[in-house]
């Protein structure tokens, strides 16, 4: 009924096959299949600024799931991991990732902050993580969509590229937070504005299905969180290189 945890037969069969493969392969791999990572939407401004100026400033705008707590949290969270992965892949480019993480803010709150962000940080690319807070508050999907539209349009008018990132896959709270309508909305907004969507929900679910991570695990241990964020950071780096057509610049050895 509620479109939750969407799957296609193809994806399911792939997941099943890959589960077997993953069981045989090394234990900590977190490969992301291309169909989950690469789409038809380009990051044109990123291509330009990287090729002409050899620099790239990325702003990560998001809520709680874009950060990790504790003293070793910030360097382990995915924004920092993205910077490390991208810098390694693009050694000739000055990569800077800044984070503007505010807990408990809805998409509407975040959208209203985009103008200020453009002035303060002058990013080339904004990675906008959203959806979890709105789903928990059950914000009207139309309002959620309007907020995303507003934020993305503000950024695009300023000539800045955007990547939307949806929620985490959280199997334990899966029956409690109605993610699906919000994930659908983000997909639609990404399609309409022709921006890439980093489908964190499907990717983490894929990792769970193939056994890369046990996302059901309980406990205060940080290892799982650090590894997942590292993989997310590397996944976004691959997405950026693909969507901005930077394969020519990329350091082959590190791919």
């Amino acid at each position: 009924m509620k479109a939750r945890g969407m799957r296609t037969p193809l994806a399911a069969v792939l997941a099943l096959l890959l589960a077997v493969v993953a069981a045989l392969a090394e234990p900590y791999s977190c490969e992301i299949p291309g169909y989950l990572l690469f789409g038809g939407n380009d990051l044109k401004h990123v291509t330009e600024v990287v090729k002409n100026d050899h620099r790239l400033t990325i702003a990560v705008v998001g809520t709680g799931s874009s950060a990790l707590a504790g003293p070793d949290g910030p360097p382990s969270a995915y924004p920092a991991r993205l910077q490390a992965a991208l810098q390694q892949k693009l050694p000739s480019v000055a990569v800077k990732v800044i984070t503007l993480v505010r807990t408990r803010l809805s998409a509407d709150d975040l959208a209203k902050g985009m103008d200020k962000l453009l002035v303060d940080e002058k990013p080339d690319l904004v990675i906008w993580q959203s959806g979890t807070v709105d789903a928990m508050r059950r914000v009207e999907p139309d309002d959620f969509r309007a907020a995303l539209d507003e934020g993305v349009e503000t950024l695009q008018k300023a000539g800045v590229d955007v990547i939307l990132m949806n929620m985490q896959y959280s199997p334990r709270t899966d029956s409690m937070i109605p993610l699906a309508p919000y994930a659908d909305t983000m997909r639609v907004v990404a399609q309409q504005h022709e921006v890439p969507l980093f489908d964190r929900l499907a990717i983490m679910r894929y990792w769970s299905d193939v056994g890369a991570f046990d996302l059901y695990a309980a406990g205060k241990d940080n290892v799982l969180a650090h590894r997942v964020h590292d993989c997310i950071g590397r996944g976004i780096a691959s997405m950026i290189i693909d969507a901005a057509h930077l394969h020519g610049l990329a350091n082959k050895a590190s791919q």
Binding site: M1, K2, A3, R4, G5, R7, T8, P9, L10, A11, A12, A15, G34, Y35, L36, F38, G39, G40, G64, S65, L68, A69, G70, T132, V133, M136, R137, R138, V139, E140, Q168, Y169, S170, P171, R172, T173, D174, S175, M176, I177, P178, P181, T185, R187, V188, Q191, L197, R205, S208, D214, L215, Y216, A218, G219, K220, D221, L224, A225, V228, H229
Partner: protein
Amino acid sequence: MPQVPLRPSSIWAIPVPHERPPDMHAPVAPVVTSGRDLRLDLFRGIALWLIFLDHIPSNLVAWVTIRNYGFSDATEIFVFVSGYTAAFVYGKEMRERGFVVAGARILRRAWQIYVAHVFLFAIYLAEISYVAVSFENPLYAEEMNILDFLKQPDVTIIQALLLKFKPSNMDVLPLYIVLLLLFPPILWLLQYRATLALGASVLLYVLTWEFNWNLPSYPSGHWYFNPFAWQLLFVFGAWCALGGARRLSGVLRSRVTLAIAVAYLAFAFVISLSWYLPGMTQYIPSAIEVIYPIDKVNLDVLRFAHFLALAVVTVQFVPRDWPFLTTRWAWPLVVCGQHSLEIFCLGVFLSFAAHFAMVEVSGSIWLQFIVSALGILVMVAAAGVIAWYKRLEGRSPGSRPRKMPDADLAGGEA
């Protein structure tokens, strides 16, 4: 007044002829189509199974369910069939015993569903409270905020009793309650001015879209299934039951209709594939984007049309007297469809239990298959037991063919 058995004398002791010659129809107002249409039970059974599978979070088995292949899903089937059977059962009652008696029974039914909803909410509270104390994972610090409402049970529980706070997956029964509360006058109008009633329903649907009517939710937003929009499908089901289906039969059997329906289903299939395979998006013309968003809250026209297309194809290929319907292979689905409220509630409970098992034991694919299969087995067994109880108590119309359909039973069907 001819007595038309509402269901075969026993689901085990089949077959019973379902077709009656037309002259056996009551001469009163619009006539109910003859006999009980087992296809309805079958498809409601299918809907119940699919709803169960879809409600288990993170369940890979749910990729078999129809929502992944088009715009509509099991909810549409469930609401339509519920409208159809409610009109079938209570319409007969209203013609024979009057508006007050039938109306009172419908309201009693709404009360039973309310009680069932509150029962499910208690189970939900138990599950979420358990998760709250047992689960700490730094990766999911943000998601744990969902448990905030446990800090103010006074507000939460009262809002739940008012049907304003509805945890996820618990939206269908409140919709059903509101639909039944509104049903007596609609049913009355359907009996005497069927077209007018359907027209009123369409008008309400259009006005709802125009003026954004909906009921409020707690802590924010509106009902996930907007009753003012979804009533269209319920009333349409009721209208079909009270003679509308026969009036449409010419259209339904036409080759042109079938061709349009098949083409539309194919279109919806391709579009829905593009949701999962980003690589496919480039092959879909951007003009298609005008169809978005496909609004489930307000029963988008595309969803309604998708359901109609499915129904057209079904009617073409599944005849009313299809022998399969009375075989033992169809029985597990039919018996579930015949006790839909009980099995629906059980399904919601079982989906909680299945999720719990996946969290506590393992989320492996094998366990997902096992809990899915086990859940369906339990649903079928429970439906079998309920059918047995009802026969035991002589409440099955088959066992006393001249008895009025009992309210519980009628409800069980409606």
